[in-house]
């Protein structure tokens, strides 16, 4: 009897001193540290087999209130669009459902005939994007746009899972603040399954 009581007391003691759960992330939130940044790699783009994706660079999203960091990417994306068009590369635009191509920022506006797709964050979902890219012989996509943690992470990941090579210039993508942008960059460079097809770079490390 004594032994049982002692056992019970010990068990109770052990239970009360052990953490109630095996450490979930909300408990440990404050102790989280970011790993080092990924190395940015130089890239040579083949204009014949590469498409430039301009993801959701539309006025209702890329603005000072919602995505202030987006404004700092516009000039870089504009330069890439110029270089892509000069080399005869395909430039593809996207927006979210029910928001037309005319809402793309004026300085980045689509030219007549350039493909345009509307979807949520994953631009392959319920669209012909994959078929259109394959029909044109595209094997690599350059993912630029906003939100980093939305359209960019989702569409770049899906492109990789569907067998495309993906180039992500970090100075062309933006989150609503630095943290989601940082994680997106880390994830695209290191994330499970998707990262082997993805090259994280910067616009001035890209040659056409």
């Amino acid at each position: 009897m004594k032994r049982i009581l002692l056992g019970l007391a010990l068990a109770t003691f052990t239970m009360s001193t052990l953490p109630a759960k095996a450490g979930d992330i909300v408990d440990e939130w404050a102790s989280v540290k970011a790993p080092p940044p990924p190395a940015l790699k130089p890239v040579t783009v083949d204009p014949k087999t590469t498409a430039l994706l301009v993801l959701d660079m539309i006025k209702p999203i890329c603005n000072a209130e919602r995505y202030p960091r987006c404004l700092g990417t516009v000039a870089v994306v504009k330069k890439l669009i110029g270089e892509a068009r000069a080399k005869g590369m395909m430039v593809v635009y996207t927006s979210v459902p029910n928001v037309p191509v005319t809402t793309v920022l004026e300085e980045l506006a689509a030219k007549p005939g350039e493909p345009f797709f509307q979807s949520g964050t994953d631009k392959f979902l319920k669209t012909d994007l994959e078929k259109m890219l394959r029909d044109k012989g595209v094997t690599t996509v350059i993912s630029t746009g906003v939100a980093a943690q939305g359209a960019v992470i989702s569409t770049a990941s899906e492109a990789s899972l569907r067998g495309f090579k993906v180039i992500v210039p970090i100075d062309t993508i933006s989150g609503n603040f630095a943290y989601p942008e940082q994680y997106t960059v880390w994830h695209l460079a290191n994330g499970p399954v998707i990262s082997p097809n993805i090259t994280v770079t910067k616009s001035d490390l890209m040659k056409f």
Partner: protein, 211 residues
């Protein structure tokens, strides 16, 4: 030198403020890397799941995906309990495997019963599987997403379920990565997800789910 850098930085931030778009970017994210701060911790909410229209997804709790992650193994008791409660409430239970694994590699604590659907895919379990059809045929409107890796199967399948219109319940003690940073970002990306994902997601803990 230090001083002039400071002055330049101060001038830039004044200009940024004046232009009305602080916090804009100061260089690129790799230059900013060391100064990036995580947002505040997210609240966990109690959930009452409707047994008829909710499915429990157990993603890639297999050897080696789970056995290689100490945080996954540490979650097994909580997942075993959640699974038992879900079975008692007659929820649809759906498993997934990845890579070279099959249903035989699912850990004994959360092993499937005959008749439980098992889908096989990489990180997005809707891709190349009939998961959407399995859920639709049973009238499922909500999924409880558990598994490993948090930043793999849970992030992608949870997001994909939300984009397909389902409510997504994520117990944070049922998703694991090898590094806290990835788990934290997964919780944040799901709860605050753009494109309609965030409003569909409820972050909770397994002992806060009632059936």
């Amino acid at each position: 030198m230090r001083r002039s850098k400071f002055h330049v930085a101060a001038a830039v931030s004044v200009i940024a403020l004046a232009a009305g778009f602080s916090p804009a970017r100061a260089g690129d994210i790799v230059q900013e890397w060391a100064n990036v701060k995580a947002p505040a911790a997210l609240p966990l909410k109690p959930v009452t799941a409707d047994a008829k229209t909710t499915a429990l997804l157990l993603l890639d709790f297999v050897n080696p995906n789970c056995t290689n992650r100490p945080r996954c193994l540490a979650q097994m008791p909580a997942m075993k309990k959640l699974l038992a409660e879900a079975r008692a409430a007659k929820l649809l239970i759906v498993y997934s495997t990845a890579g070279k694994t099959t249903a035989k590699d699912i850990l004994p604590d959360v092993a499937p019963m005959s008749g439980d659907p098992v889908v096989h895919s990489s990180v997005d379990k809707f891709q190349g599987t009939d998961l959407a059809k399995i859920l639709q045929d049973k009238g499922i409107k909500s999924v409880i997403v558990t598994g490993t890796a948090a930043h793999g199967a849970v992030l992608y399948t949870g997001s994909a379920a939300a984009l397909r219109g389902m409510a997504v319940i994520v117990p944070v003690d049922g998703m694991s990565s090898e590094d806290l940073y990835y788990e934290q970002a997964t919780a944040w990306l799901l709860a605050k997800g753009t494109g309609g994902i965030g409003p569909k997601v409820t972050l909770t803990r397994s002992d806060m789910i009632k059936f």
